[in-house]
C-alpha cells in the first residue's frame, strides 16, 4: 500500500500536514513521541522489534553528512534509519510534556 519511498516524502508531508510531524522533521536532540508507523505491516513490525513502538520516545542524534541516514535513540539503543523510512514514522502532536513517557 505505502511502498513508494522517495527521499522527498518527508518534505511533501511537511506541506500537506503541518500538525502531524514525522520523525524525519524532528530536529537533532529534540524528543518526540511516536504515534504510528505509516508503513506496510512487515516493515512496521521490523521497526517495532527495534523499539520504534507507538508511545515510545525517540531522540534524533548524529547523522551522516547531509543528515541522511540519521541515528535515533530509542528504547535504550541507537538505530540509524534513512530519511525515506523516518518520514513514515508519524509523531504525536508535540507538547512540552513529551518527555514524561
Amino acid at each position: 500500500m505505502m511502498l513508494q519511498m522517495s527521499v522527498n516524502n518527508g518534505h511533501v508531508a511537511a506541506f500537506n500536514a503541518p500538525f502531524a510531524r514525522t520523525l524525519a522533521q524532528l530536529p537533532e536532540g529534540e524528543a518526540g513521541v511516536l504515534d504510528r508507523l505509516d508503513l506496510p505491516d512487515d516493515i512496521a513490525r521490523r521497526l517495532m522489534e527495534l523499539g520504534f513502538l507507538p508511545g515510545h520516545t525517540i531522540v534524533p542524534a548524529r547523522s551522516a553528512p547531509g543528515g541522511n541516514p540519521r541515528v535515533y535513540r530509542v528504547d535504550g539503543s541507537e538505530v540509524a534509519l534513512r530519511r525515506e523510512t523516518a518520514s513514515h514514522l508519524i509523531l504525536r502532536p508535540s507538547k512540552p510534556s513529551g518527555k514524561t513517557l
Binding site: R62, P69, A80
Partner: protein, 640 residues
C-alpha cells in the same frame, strides 16, 4: 572434493562432520537477537573446534562446534543460530532458526537444550525474545551478556528473581571477558546428564504476534526482577561526536579507508614477496632432491607454482580481516557504513557494501568473504556479484605486460603521468564503471529492493579483544586455503596435463601439438573477431585458473621468460598481436571473471552453483562483447 558435488542444486547437504560422528551427541543451540554477543559466546565455548558452513539450501551461515567441556562423558555440540528478534518466519534467518528449533532442518538434530543470550544493557527490548523461546519448553539457560557494561554504567538486575519469573535459570555473563562462562558450562553438563528440569514460569508467556504486548510483558518482567537500565554510554556519545562530526567524520572515514586500502595493497607486498621467494626456494630444493622427471615437473612447475600463486594472497587476506575485525569489533564499521550509505545508495547499494568493495581492489576473494557483515540478503548478493569487477591485484601483471608492450609512454602531465599510467588508470575506472552499472542493473531487476528498509544498529564502542581477532583470522585463512586451494590445485593439475600430453617419444610435446594447443586452435575461430590468435587462446583458457597465469602461459608458448617485464615476451607479443587485439585483451581482462578462487568463494558464500554460473556467464559475455567492440573500433583507425 566431496563437498563439491553434494551441493550441485540439491537441497540436502551432508551434515557437518562433528554432528555425524556422535549421533548421540548432546546438541545445544545458541539463540539471541543481533548484536547480543552470540558469536563471542560461541567462540568462548568452542575455541577453535568449530566449522563454518551454510545451512542447506540457503545463504544463512551455519556455525557448529564442540564445547570445551571439563567432563567428557558426552560430546556437547553447539549450533550458533542466526541473530533474530522474533520467531515469526519472515526472513530467511528467522525461517532457519524456526526450522532448527523444530528439528526440521536436515542434518541437524533437534536441539536438546538452548542458550538464550540477551544483551542486559538493553533488557527491555531483548527480553521480548524470551517469550517465544521459553514456550518451546526445552531446557533453556537465559544468559544476560555484557554484565561488565551493565555494572560500569550503573545498571542492575536481580538474576534470582528473573529466574523464578521466567521459570528458567539465568546467568549474568560477560562473553568477551570470559566472566561467568563457568555457569554456562555447568548448565550444559547438567542438560547433557539429563538432570536439568525446567520449572513453570511464574508469569504467563504472551502469545507471539503482538509486539507492543510482548514489549509490555518484557517491561513488566524486568520490573519484577528489579531491572535498572544502565546510563547511556558516555564514551560512545563522545566518540560519536567526533566520528560522526559533519566535517571530521567524513575526514576520518577517508583516512581509515585510505589506510586500509594502502595497507592491503602495498603493506602486504613485502610479506607476499617473502612468501613468493620461499615458494620458489622450496621449488629449488625439490629440484635438487628429485631427478628430472615428469613427476618433478608436475610437482614444481604445476602444483607448487600454481598453489603458490594462491597462497601468496594469504598476507593480504589476513591483513584485510585484521582490519575488518578491528573495525567491526570496535563498533566503527557501523559508523563507516552510515557515512558511506548515501553514496552507495546512488548505485542501489547500501553503506555496508563499501568496505567489501574497496577490499576487492586487492582481491575479490576476501572481499566476498567480507560481505558477511551485510545482513540484507539482496544487497549482499549484489555486492558479491559486482566485487570481481573491481581491479584486483592479479590483473596488474597482465595489464603491465600488455601496456608496456603496446602503449607508447608519451608524457601527458610532465614526467609523472604518461600514457601508460593513464591507460592503467583508465582500466581501473573501467572496472569501477562496470561494477556500478551492474549494481544498478541488478537492483532494478532480479535483485529489486525487498521491502526491508535500511536499518543499522549502532553498537557502543568497545575495545576489540586479541582473542576474537585471532580466532577470526584463523577461521578466515582456513576457509580461504581449504576451499580456494582445492579448486585451484585441481585446475592446475588439469592444465599441466593438457600442456604435457600427448607425449612424443617419451617427451612432452611442443605446446602447439599438446592438448592445450589443440584447445587453443579450437577456440581460435571464437576469439578471432577480438583480434586474438590461438596462442592467446591457450592463455585465456589457462587464465581461468587465475588471471596472472596467462603471463606464465604466454611465456611458455613464446619460449621466453615467464615474467611480466621480460623484453623477449613483449617483443614476441608486439609481432604477434595487433594493437586492436592488445587493447581488446586489456578490456577482456577488465571484465572477465578469470579466477577459480573467486568462483569457488562465490559458490561457498551463496550456497550453490546458481549465482557463480550466472556471474561467470554475464562477465564473460560482457568481456567478449566489449573486447569485440574495442577491437573493431581500434582497427577502424578512429584513434590514429
Amino acid at each position: 572434493m566431496s563437498e563439491c558435488h553434494d551441493c550441485a542444486g540439491c537441497a540436502v547437504a551432508e551434515p557437518p562432520p562433528s554432528l555425524q560422528k556422535g549421533a548421540r551427541a548432546h546438541v545445544v543451540a545458541i539463540i539471541g537477537p543481533p548484536n547480543s554477543g552470540k558469536s563471542t559466546l560461541f567462540n568462548r565455548l568452542t575455541g577453535l573446534r568449530q566449522k563454518v558452513a551454510n545451512f542447506p539450501g540457503v545463504t544463512v551461515e551455519q556455525r557448529v562446534g564442540k564445547a570445551r567441556m571439563h567432563h567428557k562423558e558426552r560430546d556437547v555440540v553447539l549450533v550458533d543460530l542466526p541473530g533474530v528478534y522474533s520467531l515469526s518466519p519472515r526472513s530467511e534467518d528467522e525461517q532457519v532458526t524456526r526450522d532448527v528449533l523444530a528439528g526440521a532442518m536436515p542434518g541437524i538434530p533437534k536441539p536438546d537444550a538452548l542458550l538464550l543470550i540477551l544483551d542486559c544493557t538493553n533488557l527491555g527490548r531483548h527480553l521480548v525474545l524470551a517469550a517465544p523461546i521459553l514456550s518451546l519448553k526445552l531446557p533453556t539457560l537465559v544468559i544476560l551478556n555484557m554484565a561488565d557494561d551493565l555494572r560500569s554504567r550503573g545498571g542492575d538486575v536481580n538474576t534470582a528473581e528473573l529466574a523464578s519469573e521466567l521459570g528458567a535459570p539465568v546467568a549474568l555473563v560477560s562473553a568477551s571477558k570470559g566472566e561467568g562462562v563457568e555457569k554456562v558450562f555447568q548448565f550444559m553438563e547438567g542438560t547433557a546428564a539429563g538432570s536439568t528440569t525446567m520449572t513453570a514460569p511464574r508469569v504467563e508467556l504472551p502469545i507471539l504476534q503482538n509486539i507492543p504486548q510482548c514489549r509490555k510483558w518484557a517491561h513488566d518482567v524486568g520490573s519484577s526482577a528489579a531491572y535498572r537500565a544502565p546510563a547511556p554510554p558516555i564514551w560512545t556519545r563522545r566518540l560519536d561526536s567526533v566520528f560522526l562530526h559533519p566535517i571530521f567524520g567524513p575526514l576520518i572515514f577517508l583516512i581509515v579507508v585510505a589506510g586500509v586500502f594502502q595497507t592491503i595493497f602495498s603493506g602486504a607486498k613485502p610479506m607476499m614477496d617473502g612468501l613468493q621467494a620461499l615458494i620458489v626456494q622450496f621449488g629449488h630444493v625439490i629440484e635438487h632432491i628429485l631427478p628430472p622427471s615428469i613427476f618433478r615437473s608436475l610437482l614444481v612447475d604445476g602444483i607448487l607454482s600454481g598453489v603458490g600463486a594462491v597462497i601468496v594472497f594469504l598476507p593480504q587476506i589476513l591483513l584485510l580481516f585484521l582490519f575488518i575485525g578491528i573495525l567491526e569489533d570496535s563498533g566503527y564499521l557501523a559508523r563507516a557504513a552510515l557515512i558511506a550509505d548515501r553514496t552507495m545508495a546512488k548505485f542501489g547499494l547500501q553503506g555496508k557494501s563499501f568496505i567489501p568493495l574497496i577490499s576487492a581492489y586487492a582481491c575479490a576473494v576476501p572481499a566476498i568473504m567480507a560481505t558477511r557483515t551485510i545482513e540484507n540478503k539482496r544487497d549482499r548478493l549484489a555486492t558479491i556479484l559486482i566485487a570481481p569487477f573491481m581491479t584486483c591485484s592479479a590483473r596488474l601483471p597482465v595489464y603491465t605486460l600488455i601496456i608496456a608492450a603496446f602503449i607508447v609512454d608519451r608524457p601527458i602531465i610532465g614526467h609523472f603521468f604518461g600514457m601508460q599510467a593513464a591507460a592503467l588508470l583508465g582500466l581501473y575506472v573501467l572496472g569501477f564503471v562496470a561494477a556500478i552499472a551492474t549494481a544498478r542493473l541488478l537492483k532494478s531487476s532480479i535483485l529489486k529492493s525487498e521491502r526491508v528498509p535500511f536499518v543499522l544498529e549502532m553498537p557502543p564502542y568497545r575495545w576489540p579483544t586479541l582473542r576474537s581477532l585471532g580466532l577470526r583470522l584463523v577461521d578466515r585463512s582456513k576457509v580461504f586455503l581449504r576451499r580456494a586451494g582445492t579448486v585451484i590445485l585441481l585446475v592446475i593439475i588439469v592444465l599441466w596435463v593438457l600442456e604435457n600430453l600427448p607425449m612424443k617419444n617419451g617427451k612432452p610435446p611442443e605446446i602447439a601439438d599438446s592438448f592445450a594447443g589443440m584447445i587453443g586452435h579450437a577456440v581460435e575461430p571464437v576469439i578471432k573477431p577480438l583480434g586474438f590468435n590461438w596462442k592467446i587462446g591457450i592463455g585465456l583458457v589457462s587464465s581461468i585458473a587465475a588471471r596472472e597465469v596467462i603471463v606464465g602461459t604466454l611465456g611458455t608458448i613464446y619460449h621466453s621468460e615467464g615474467t611480466e617485464d621480460s623484453v623477449g615476451l613483449r617483443k614476441a607479443l608486439q609481432s604477434d598481436l595487433t594493437p586492436g587485439g592488445a587493447v581488446a585483451l586489456l578490456v577482456f581482462f577488465a571484465f572477465a571473471m578469470q579466477c577459480m578462487s573467486t568462483i569457488a568463494v562465490v559458490r561457498r558464500e551463496t550456497g550453490g552453483w546458481k549465482w557463480p554460473a550466472i556471474q561467470f556467464t554475464y562477465m564473460t559475455f560482457l568481456a567478449y562483447l566489449c573486447a569485440l567492440i574495442t577491437n573493431e573500433v581500434v582497427r577502424s583507425g578512429i584513434f590514429t
